[in-house]
Amino acid sequence: MKNTRKMVLLSVLVSQALVLHVIERMIPVPIPIPGVKLGLANVISLFTVVIFGWKEAMLVVFLRTTLGSFFGGGISSFLYSFTGGIISTIVMALMYKYFNKVFSIIAISVVGAVFHNIGQIFIASLVVSNANLFYWLPVLLISAVITGIFIGITVQLTMKPLQTVLRIDRK
């Protein structure tokens, strides 16, 4: 794939992630624990991992969290989404590259969501200098599993159509 084409495609993915991020903020989640959210933008992260690879996925995550914090949330929200996103992307990329035969996309997405939440709690506990935030980990794990399954199914179903729309040929 030529460089310009790749650059344009990655930009499209970043903007898709940003739109998902903005829409997600409009959907109320009735669980008042810090860190419980739908994580819709992770659809794009996982998709980028599968189609391109970990370097491109990290770039997309960096760009979407940076720009996303401009669109709403502020600098502090950048810290949490960036850390969670990077950790989750690294784990998903490793799982996909080496264990693709063993784990389905849904499982990879769930593990990514779990690590996303772990990363966020970790940074939050650094911010308040107190580790008792990890008390909420079981609730977050449950929410991560549910959202991870949903994201994984979404990626699995949209993989082919999105490739067709973006005109990406599978290598």
């Binding site: 035969k101 063993v102 699995q156």
Partner: protein
């Protein structure tokens, strides 16, 4: 939906992890509650012994940018009454009453939790009397 062998391992690990944490939080933890602790920016702001909470107490903390937080505590528990912050998650978290639970306001870097006095253990406990 394609399912592969490794998925079962993931499911089992997650169930075990969740089960372990839930057990720890709800079953194995009936320690008595001694103090309500409020930390700001990682440092202790106020520590209220539970005996002082027989009548409701209100703690008001001011931050820069005209932000503040109102924390109320009484015999049943502690909660955030009012706060100026972008997400108001701390207010929506509700009431905490047990050791381990916490209310956090990340934008204002406030942490509210209960603690018990573990350092009193070896010297004086119920058995000594």
């Amino acid at each position: 939906m394609k399912f592969k062998k490794g998925d079962i391992i993931i499911a089992v690990v997650l169930l075990a992890a969740v089960g372990f944490w839930l057990y720890n939080s709800y079953v194995a933890n009936n320690t008595s509650v001694n103090n309500l602790v409020i930390e700001v920016d990682g440092e202790l702001y106020k520590k209220i012994p539970v005996d002082h909470l027989k009548k409701p107490q209100l703690v008001h903390i001011d931050f820069e940018n005209n932000r503040y937080i109102d924390i109320e505590g009484n015999e049943t528990g502690a909660w955030v009454k009012d706060v100026v912050c972008p997400d108001k998650l701390c207010q929506k978290t509700g009431v905490i009453s047990k050791v381990g639970q916490s209310i956090v306001c990340l934008p204002n870097r406030v942490n509210i939790y209960y603690e018990n006095n573990e350092n009193e253990g070896p010297l004086v406990d119920n058995v000594a009397y």
